[in-house]
């Protein structure tokens, strides 16, 4: 395996460069996935049947907590990648741990939010609106959940194997994923919640 030392570790082999580009293309597909969910959401948002509308169920506090937490986690994982690039394994791991913990908080609040919705009669089966609302949020939430497990496995590998071209590559790709989830959340925050409460 040829290692190119002029590049950051995560780009240092051909395989690594392939993986990073491949992941970007995957993110292109994810843009379309969430784009479709948004298209469906906007189409169904007023079709509330006999259930509640967004205005009636959205609350600003949990949404704000989720937003701040996720934005911060996106910042910390950025710092993690920076630490990785200057070879600070411990710092990098700490930032990743903080990121995952923030992700966990986000998930907790979201689960709480879901339970609340179901409790006030806005369950998955209530109306087209609630179905698409919970599916859109749920798809993002599932991505976060998946990310938590994925991040955990990467942390384990970094701990065990140190910063090698492989682990650095995985960590970097994971950071791309995490930032992307933040971007998606910004759109959810803006066009599901804020637009709904406007």
């Amino acid at each position: 395996m040829k290692i190119d030392h002029s590049l950051p570790l995560e780009y240092s082999t051909e395989e690594n460069r392939l993986k990073i580009l491949g992941f970007w293309i995957f993110l292109g597909a994810e843009i379309m996935l969430f784009g479709t969910l948004f298209a469906s959401y906007f189409t169904l948002v007023d079709r509330i049947g006999s259930g509640p509308s967004g205005k009636e169920i959205f609350e600003i506090t949990p949404v704000l907590i989720e937003t701040i937490v996720l934005l911060t986690s996106s910042f910390t994982i950025g710092l993690g990648v920076h630490a990785m690039r200057i070879g600070r394994k411990k710092a990098m791991m700490s930032f990743f741990v903080i990121t995952l913990l923030l992700g966990l908080v986000f998930l907790g609040v979201e689960i709480f939010e879901f339970i609340h919705y179901v409790h006030i009669g806005a369950g998955l089966q209530t109306s087209a609106f609630t179905a698409i609302l919970l599916s859109t949020l749920g798809t993002h939430g599932l991505h976060v959940t998946f990310g938590l497990f994925w991040g955990l496995f990467i942390l384990l590998q970094v701990k065990k194997r140190g910063l090698t071209p492989e682990t650095a590559n995985k960590s970097f790709i994971f950071s791309l994923y995490w930032h992307f989830l933040d971007v998606v959340w910004i759109f959810i925050f803006s066009f599901v919640y804020l637009k709904g409460m406007m």
Binding site: D46, R47, I48, G49, S50, S127
Partner: protein
């Protein structure tokens, strides 16, 4: 007579195949090609093209190309026009292909002929882009124009008061409600000629498509909204109508008869219905909604009163509960209706 027309077309198709066979020979490996034969082959190709055009002009008797109302006429004219333009394109492509194949076969080239390297030619490519763009632009213009034409009251009928008919489908029937006349029919439709008809379409179940080919193109009938179809009949007569969108087991037989007649005859019919038919009750209508086929039925009153169509405040946005009771019946449930009513229509 109906069937004889089809046989005529088969004969024409067979002619096509005969000519095609001639062209086939052009492709088969043969050793001694003479110039004379080439011309014959080209002749065969031309004959083929002419045959195609003859067949197409023989199409006048096809339902869609035999319009009996202004909307169908707009569409038939569009179709014929596009067929002619497209035949021209097909002709050009076939001609070019035949020319290239006849002229540049390996067997016609010298043994050490080396085909040249040609990158492309701006002028040629500009023509290949330009002419299609012109054609597409023209067709787009026509398309948009006809589009607005078929989506509004038929031309020449603007000043006449339209007859509103609610045409609703249920598995696998059509219900026609005449709110002004306050009558309702099942699986048959009487309309006055020379008067615009405004069909309000929706469905008590799967998506269906309301289609009377000789009066105009189709439009969907859906459960959660009402769509509008503008038609009119110029000529009295009986026309075929059907659901064109697949809707399950009874789809093939999901047809209805249309009879267009002068206004006074239509009014006589309405009177007669009012005098003889039974009123449509909610209970009776729910029975009618059961999946299955029915013959032709006639009622006074309409179902629009007790089961309002999904428009206005009952429309897609907030509707819901009233539709819930339908459709839960299994298709299986009324197998018997399907069997017993099969002969009626």
């Amino acid at each position: 007579m109906f069937i004889r027309k089809k046989y005529y077309m088969i004969v024409m198709l067979a002619c096509d195949l005969y000519h095609l066979q001639k062209i086939v020979y052009m492709f088969l490996p043969s050793k001694n090609l003479e110039r004379g034969i080439d011309l014959k082959r080209f002749g065969a190709l031309l004959t083929l093209v002419f045959t195609i055009i003859t067949v197409l002009t023989g199409c006048e008797s096809l339902l869609v190309l035999d319009p009996k109302g202004p909307q169908a006429e707009v569409q038939a004219n569009d179709i014929k026009m596009s067929i002619y333009i497209m035949s021209f394109i097909v002709l050009v492509v076939f001609g070019l292909l035949a020319y290239m194949l006849i002229k540049y076969r390996a067997s016609k080239q010298g043994k050490d002929y080396e085909p040249p390297h040609i990158e492309g030619n701006i002028v040629v490519e500009a023509i290949c882009v330009g002419i299609p763009i012109l054609i597409v632009a023209f067709l787009s213009f026509m398309s948009v124009k006809s589009n607005y034409a078929v989506e509004s009251t038929p031309k020449g009928y603007e000043n006449k008061k339209p007859l509103v008919v609610y045409a609703t489908s249920s598995n696998w029937k059509w219900h026609f409600s005449y709110p002004e006349e306050n009558i309702e029919t099942v699986n048959y439709l009487y309309i006055p000629t020379n008067r615009p008809i405004e069909f309000k379409l929706y469905s008590h179940g799967p998506i269906t498509s309301f289609w009377i080919p000789q009066l105009g193109g189709q439009k969907y009938a859906m459960a959660d909204m009402v769509t509008t179809l503008h038609l009119a009949a110029d000529v009295p007569g009986e026309y075929m109508g059907r659901n064109a969108n697949f809707s399950g087991k009874g789809f093939a037989e999901n047809t209805f008869n249309v009879k267009a007649m002068p206004q006074d005859e239509f009014e006589d019919w309405v009177k007669e219905v009012k005098g003889t038919a039974k009123p449509l009750t909610e209970q009776k209508f729910n029975e009618l909604l059961e999946p299955g086929h029915l013959g032709q039925l006639t009622f006074t009153g309409t179902h629009l009163g007790f089961l309002p169509p999904p428009e206005g405040e009952n429309g897609g946005h907030n509707h819901g509960s009233h539709n819930a009771k339908m459709g839960t019946e299994k298709n299986e449930a009324s197998e018997s209706i399907l069997e017993s009513e099969h002969n009626h229509h």
